[in-house]
Each structure stands twice: as C-alpha cells, then as structure tokens.
Amino acid sequence: MSETTRVNELQRRLAEAGYVAERSLAATLELFTALKRPLLLEGEAGVGKTEIARVLSHLFDCPLIRLQCYEGLDVNAAIYEWNYQHQLLAIKLLEQGKVDPESAEHQIFSEKYLLKRPLLQAITQPRSPVLLIDEIDRADEEFEAYLMEVLSDFQISVPELGTIKATSKPYVVLTSNSTRELSDALRRRCLYYYVEYPGFDKELRIVNARLPDIGPQLARQVVSFVQELRKGDMRKKPGIAESLDWAAALMRLGVNSLDQDIEAVMDSLVCLLKTREDSKDVSQVEVERMVARSV
C-alpha cells in the first residue's frame, strides 16, 4: 500500500471511530504507529488530546492504560507496589507450617504479591497497549526523569524480583497543557504534535458526528457561535467538549435555532462559560449580537 493511501486509510478509520482528524494529524499518527516513538501532544485544554489516545486504542483494538499525573505522583502509584496485607497474611500462614525461611521469602516476594500499576501493566501485556500518560506537566521533575528511563529501556527493575523486561512495547501518548516546562530530554525523545482549536468545518463535522440528531441549522449556529466566542479574550476558552455539551443542552431545551429563544441560550451558556469573570463579561446584548451574526 502506498504512503498516501495509508494516511487516507487511517484518516478514514479515525473518522469511522468518531474522531475527525486533519490529514497532518493522521500523517503523524501513521508515523507514530510505524516508528513506535512516544507521541507528545500539546495544546489548549479541551482540544481533544486525550481523545486521540482513546480512539487509537479503539483502532488497534487493544487496551488503553491510563496514567493520570499529578503533583507528588511517585513510583509506588505509577509502577508497582507490594501487596502488604496479602504478604502479611501469607507470613502468618507460613508460620503455622514448617517452611524453611529461604523459600518462604521467595514465596512472599513473588509476582503473586506484586500490585501492577499502570507503567508496569503497560509493558507486561501480551499485545502492545496504548499507554496514555495524561498531563505529564503536572508530575514532578523526578518522575519525569524516571519515566524517561522506562520509556527508553522498556524495562523496570524491582529490587526483590529483578528486572522485568517488556513483553510488548506500548504505544505511548503523552499529553501536556504546558503548565510547566518539560525537560528537553523528554521532548527530544518524543514525536510532537500541537493540537489547535478546530476550524469551523472541522468542528461542524465533529458536532455532526457526535450528535447525529442535531439539525443542520442548529449545528452551524452552535459552531459559529463558539468559534466567535473563542476569538474573544476569555480566561477559559470553551473546548470541543464544551461545544458538544452546549449543543446537547440546547437540543434538550428544545431549541432548533439560536435566534428563536435567546432566554434558553442565556440559560444554557453555563455549558460554555466556566469562570465568574467570563460569565460576567458576556452580556445578553453581546450574546444577541453574536447570535445574529451566527445565523
């Protein structure tokens, strides 16, 4: 199969799975599956970064393993932990019988008592899973360094057990909202894609794909309204999820066209405006003007 058709094919399959992707994104994802390098996705909140991982796992028909990063995330929560309670129980049971201490120790520190956390899980699957490391910028620098070690060697050493080698190399997707500068070394190791807010056509296709029952008129109005809103100076710009929420809310309120019921539009704006300042800034007059423009 030639290169171009492969990209087209991937783009079509992504669309079938409910994800509308530009050609350049499809091309990057195609490369990502071929090279099996980690993929770093950056972009504003709500542009569908996490969704990419989800749809990839759907396409490859493999499990999605997700590691949500947060400040203070440590090795125990990300890689492995011993199941202390279980071990203790085993010790008590072993005390009853006569077992020689050497083998007892072996038994207690065996894989049976190992709790696998996402990273270890990801490399011990029979088939390559998609490993989503979400919001890596929230984790500490130390964790980032450790993660890099795992991602380059694909093996994890547990002192009591020895080294666990990867049985399959996962497809690694990292997302970041750039709340913190990531280290150069990590950036260098990854493929990179910057996900932008979708343009009008793309967002319209997304809305139509996700909410098939929405009328063509409402869909167009919703999308152009949200696009207009994003152009303004907002504290928290509405993402795609917000437009979908809003469209669903409007459908639920029985609105077929924005200009027909300004009240309902105002009431449902809670779906789009997520901070006090933003909701204060958008007045009814403003909304009416934007609605008039988007009709």
Binding site: E3, L31, R180, E181, R187
Partner: protein
C-alpha cells in the same frame, strides 16, 4: 515536489544526495535551536524512507513531528523547511550551512520574527568567531550563553539576544522553584515516625507495627510578591523583569506580581496566560503605555491598602526599582515599614547597583535602605541567579 525529484536526478547518486541534504537539514534545525540529537538524525532517515521523498507534504509533516518539541518550534518549522528545501538552487549546497542561512535571511529580509532573529544572530556570532561554522555549534553556544549571563540587560541591544535573555530569565525562575522543592524533599529523608498513628495502624496486624506512619512536614514555599517599577527610567529593564515575573508566577503556586509607575496594577493574571504572544502583547501595553514618573511611596500605599492581605509570615516581597522617585521619601519609608512588619522578608532589587561607581544616594533609596533585609543588584542573569540562595534560606 517536482523540484525535489528534478534535483535528485541532476546528481550522480540521487539517493546519497538526498541523504546528505536530509542530514544537512537536521543539522540546520539543530543550529536553529531545535532539540535534536544523533538519534533524531537516524530517525529522520527512517521517516524519509517511510514517508517517501516524493510527497513533500508527507515529508514535511513527518519531519515536523520528529524534530519539533514545543509550540515555539512548531510555529517556525514551516519557515525553516521552506527556506531549506524550496530555496534557490545551489546556494544552500555550496556554502557552509550557517553562512547560507544568514545570506538567505538577508535576501528575504524576513527578520521580523524574533526567533529567527535569534538564530541568525547565533550564526553571525559564530561567523565572527571565524573557523568552521558548521562544527562546534554546541560548545560555542555555551560560551555565547555564558556571555549573556554576565551582560548588563541595558546593553543588550539586538532583539535576538534579548529574546534569548528573556527565555533564560523565565527558565531561571522555574529552576528556582525546582531546586527549592528538591531541597525540601531531601530534607524529608530524615522523617519522624508518628508514634501514635503507627500504633493505631498496628492494631490491624495484631500489634505488629507494619504500616509506619510518618509525621508529615508541611511543605513551605515562600509566597513571592514582585513589585516591578515600569517607569521611564527603568524602561531598559522593565520588560526583562516582567518576563522574570512571568516565570515566577507560573512556577510558584503562591506568587503575585504587580507593576507600577504612578499607580499600581495587579498583573498576575495577565502573566499566567499560557499563550506567549498574548502575554507579550499585554506586557508591551503595560511596559510601554505608561512610562511616566515614579511614585513608589504612593504605589506601595495602594498595595498595602488593597493587597495587604497577601502578606503573611511566608511572604517575600521583592521590589524592583532603581529608586529614582518623585514622591516624598517619608511616605516611602512609612509604607515599606508596614510591609516589613507583615512580611517575612523585604528585598529590594536595584539594576543600577550593578554599575561601577553607583551609590544609592537618592533620598528615597536612603530612606528605604535601613528597612531592607536584602539590597541586591539585578542587572544581569547572574545577579538574578544569586537570589535563589536568599529564597532558600527562608
């Protein structure tokens, strides 16, 4: 793309020629500040093989994903790609890379983007240093940086270096936080066992203290409050400090920044914007818009009245100013005293202090001096870095 095909035919061994061109391109990217290593050079070939060299768009997208590693890279990649692959024949091939780049920039006259300015600046510096421009990029880059560390901000005239300094200043702020957090973690190695809770936990296991509970030390990061003078006399410095403030505000969870000349403006929210272009725009408005005379005392009074609640025993207040004040010194010392009483430390950063022969003789500086915990220069990156130890010692 037809040109690519043509070029490859014109050469004796097209495949090799393309390979060389590709390596050259990756090196060019590295010289332009893309974070690219040898592994990426190898992978670039895999990408090229995978994407095929015929479809220019596929190659562009493939290389873009491979070579870029930040939004900044992302935005200037296309220009670099076009400049290299679609430039006039020969020019790029016969000359050394860096030279070719500078020349092309000069021809196009596209120095408008600051990032490119920086790149060509680096190249020019390298050319000025003479021998083989293509080779020792990394080493020379370092010394170039070292010089920047010591250069007084006011003497950095060209936009490229300025941008580099701004970037460094912002990184510096982030690194400060990283070190401080690390130090706290190291301290935590000597943790104390929480006896009562450990006993309580042991009940579950029949009295065996299996789950040790530790006393948790509260993470104490200072609350940083930056008050930056953006009056005309500070205009050479204020933008740098605003960038520094941006780094601080983004890195520390608990930090606030203010700018003032005759009145005080809370700028933390403007700085927190992730979109750098927008921040730059906002900051430009702030730092250019009102470079009038300075009234430090009045501005601090306003600060105490409206933002005094920000001060607590963890706060470090940093006033950045040259101390050239048009207000009364008594008012200033009175307000500074109010701040000092409520905050942990009061630091005054004066960019003039780095100049040879400067003595803080102005009335307002004299009034302020006895109240300060630290009076430090802030005219170059090194002096800013020295601040770190003060912050840690809290």
């Amino acid at each position: 793309m037809s040109r690519l095909a043509l070029q490859s035919k014109a050469e004796p061994t097209p495949a090799e020629m393309l390979q060389i061109r590709l390596v050259e391109f990756v090196r060019l990217a590295r010289e332009n500040g893309f974070r690219v290593g040898v592994a990426e050079e190898v992978d670039a070939h895999r990408v090229a093989l995978h994407c095929g060299m015929i479809n220019a768009w596929r190659l562009r997208w493939g290389l873009r994903s491979l070579l870029c590693s930040s939004q900044d890279d992302w935005e200037r990649f296309d220009e670099l790609f076009d400049a290299y692959w679609h430039s006039g024949k020969g020019a790029a091939r016969t000359q050394s890379l860096a030279g070719a780049l500078v020349k092309r920039k000069a021809q196009d006259g596209t120095g408008h983007k600051g990032s490119d300015g920086q790149a060509s600046e680096a190249d020019q510096a390298r050319q000025a240093e003479g021998d083989d421009a293509g080779e020792g990029g990394v080493r020379e880059g370092t010394s170039w940086r070292e010089n920047l560390m010591r250069a007084d901000f006011q003497f950095i005239a060209d936009s490229g270096q300025m941008r580099a300094v701004e970037l460094l200043v912002e990184r510096l702020a982030r690194r400060m936080r990283r070190r401080m957090v690390r130090r706290q973690k190291v301290q935590q190695l000597g943790r104390k066992i929480h006896l009562r809770r450990t006993l309580r936990n042991s009940l579950r296991y029949g009295g065996m203290p299996l789950q040790l509970a530790y006393q948790r030390r509260a993470r104490r990061q200072p609350r940083l409050i930056l008050i930056i003078d953006v009056s005309r006399s500070m205009s050479m410095y204020s933008y740098i400090f605003l960038r520094f403030a941006r780094g601080i505000v983004n890195a520390f969870r608990d930090a606030d920044a203010f700018a003032y000349h005759t009145r005080l403006v809370h700028i933390t929210d403007a700085l927190r914007q992730p979109d750098l272009l927008k921040v730059r725009h906002n900051l430009a408005l702030i730092s250019q818009g009102w470079s009038g005379g300075t009234r430090i005392g009045e501005s601090l009074e306003y600060f105490n009245r409206d933002y005094g609640r920000l001060l607590n025993s963890r706060s470090v207040v940093m006033v950045v100013s040259d101390g050239l004040d048009t207000g009364e010194p008594e008012r200033l010392s009175c307000q500074l005293e109010l701040i000092k009483r409520r905050a942990r430390k009061l630091v005054w950063l004066n960019p003039l202090l780095g100049r040879a022969g400067y003595e803080p003789k102005t009335a307002s500086m004299q009034a302020a001096l006895p109240l300060l915990d630290l009076f430090a220069p802030a005219h170059n990156l090194q002096s800013l870095m020295a601040l770190e130890s003060t912050l840690i010692s809290l």
